[in-house]
């Protein structure tokens, strides 16, 4: 057997293996892909895990990133079945564009917090950012990230924007913003409460919830996209967001649920 032939045989074997892997899921089980805002990273992982315990055959994939990016991707035909946006405006636009099935469902109101990995931010306020020891303050990019917009509003409302702006560094999404702070490259940052209380970040520093009177509410909503209009799993997952276990997870990560009063 020549080397070339065995290489082709090996390649064919790999292809067959890859093919069989994609066919291993039981035929009756469903499959959905969810695009979720980066602030949902930990909460959505838990909700999906809980959902799968009840229906183990189903395949659910979650893609995290900035809401603006997911929105653009769906407009360009990305294969997402549900879209959880950190800003309810994005799913509303998808409905207007005829790219969603059904209405927008508000699922949470997010909160922004001041967070630091090296200092106890619980003892800080936005004024503390003026401290010369803080060389860089990370926020999400206000040009397209909802959490970044709220951070800018809060800094402007407290009259600190002009003084803090030279210290700002911009994360591509709220996860990257947290990562700038976590690695110590930025001494403090304004991130999502849901990330600050996640196991990965809670071990370090502390956080201070920024009063919500300083910024517009972070109203978050999701939609089932047009391509999933007839996907029963997408509908089941959408209803699951109203279930007690899902709500408990969202609460655990600091989200205010629809219909609840925002505590200050």
């Amino acid at each position: 057997m020549s080397i070339r032939f065995s290489a082709i045989a090996a390649f064919a074997g790999l292809l067959a293996l890859a093919g069989s892997l994609t066919l291993t899921a039981p035929a009756h089980a469903g499959k959905i892909t969810i695009a979720a805002a980066a602030d949902l990273k930990f909460a959505m992982d838990e909700i999906v895990a809980a959902f799968k315990q009840d229906s183990p055959g189903d395949e659910i994939e979650v893609v995290y990133g900035s809401s603006g990016k997911a929105h653009t991707q769906i407009q360009q035909g990305a294969p997402y079945d549900l879209f959880f946006s950190a800003d309810i405006a994005f799913p509303r636009e998808l409905i207007k564009a005829g790219l969603a099935a059904g209405g927008v469902r508000p699922y949470a109101v997010g909160r922004i917090v001041l967070w630091s990995a090296s200092m106890d931010a619980a003892k800080m306020t936005l004024e503390s950012l003026l401290d010369p020891k803080i060389a860089h303050v990370a926020i999400a990019n206000p040009a397209h990230a909802p959490y970044g917009r709220r951070a800018e509003e809060a800094l402007r409302a407290s009259g600190l924007w002009e003084k803090i702006e030279p210290k700002l560094v911009y994360g591509e999404n709220i996860s990257q913003t947290a990562q700038f702070v976590q690695t110590g490259n930025a001494q403090a940052g304004i991130i999502a409460l849901s990330l600050a209380i996640s196991p990965a970040l809670a071990a370090k520093g502390g956080y201070w919830i920024i009063p919500d009177k300083l910024h517009e509410p972070l109203e978050q909503g999701f939609v089932v996209t047009k391509r999933a209009a007839d996907n029963p799993l997408a509908a089941r997952f959408a209803s699951y967001m109203d279930s007690e276990p899902a709500r408990a997870v969202m609460k655990k990560f600091g989200f205010t649920l629809p219909g609840e009063d925002i505590d200050r």
């Binding site: 653009t72 591509e172 110590g184 490259n185 930025a186």
Partner: protein
């Protein structure tokens, strides 16, 4: 096509970054390429592999390590802190350092090929004429390898212009400091400003095409015996 002031700022920043990185890599890459081409050491293999790593490594791997290494708790960060420069992430010079690593193979590999192509003979002749090794390098090797230098410099410059992932991970998106053209385009797309994304993207597309065209036109044609 309308370029805003911040687009021009991003383009200028990108050109400045690429220019400085190319100049630095000419200084750093030339001795490495020379040693890789003419050295006899066993270390040639491992060093050559390390130099080539950025060709295969995802930018996210490089960006991740650089973010940690350059941070206040990382080895590079502690070193720059001790020098009084402070941490490198979110600075222009941080991007320069990252790009030097990232574009290294684009300088070293064409130079190495050019040096290897010279062979031993011209340098032996120079030695019999009592030229010192350094003298021989500048008067014999460099002129003979000139096409290699040009290719290497153009490739390095162009590759640095095309950098995105590493910059996104360690840059912090600061206008005039780390927001290079590729990042600016990404921001436009994310903010759904397609018209502005188009203008800047077209500039980069035309630039890249012209660079590659120039490289092709200029490259000596082996068929004509040059």
């Amino acid at each position: 096509m309308i370029l805003t002031e911040s687009d021009l700022q991003a383009i200028w920043l990108t050109l400045r970054l690429a220019g400085i990185v190319t100049a630095l890599l000419l200084l750093i890459g030339t001795p490495i390429a020379w040693w890789l081409a003419r050295g006899k050491s066993w270390w040639k293999g491992p060093v050559g592999a390390v130099v080539a790593l950025p060709l295969v490594l995802p930018p996210s791997v490089l960006g991740f390590y650089l973010l940690l290494a350059m941070g206040p708790d990382g080895p590079v960060g502690k070193f720059t802190e001790a020098l009084g420069i402070g941490p490198l992430p979110f600075t222009f010079w941080g991007l320069v350092v990252a790009s030097v690593f990232y574009s290294m193979p684009f300088m070293v590999q064409p130079l190495q090929t050019a040096f290897e192509a010279i062979g031993d003979r011209p340098l032996e002749v120079a030695a019999t004429l009592r030229a010192s090794p350094l003298d021989a390098f500048f008067t014999v090797a460099v002129p003979l390898a000139l096409p290699g230098f040009l290719t290497a410099s153009i490739m390095t410059f162009a590759h640095t212009v095309g950098e995105f992932g590493v910059v996104l991970m360690i840059g912090g998106n600061l206008p005039g400091t780390t927001r290079v053209a590729s990042v600016q385009i990404y921001d436009y797309v994310e903010a759904l400003k397609y018209a502005q994304a188009h203008s800047l993207a077209a500039v980069l597309l035309i630039f890249s095409f012209l660079v590659l065209l120039a490289l092709h036109v200029w490259r000596p044609n082996p068929g004509k015996g040059r």
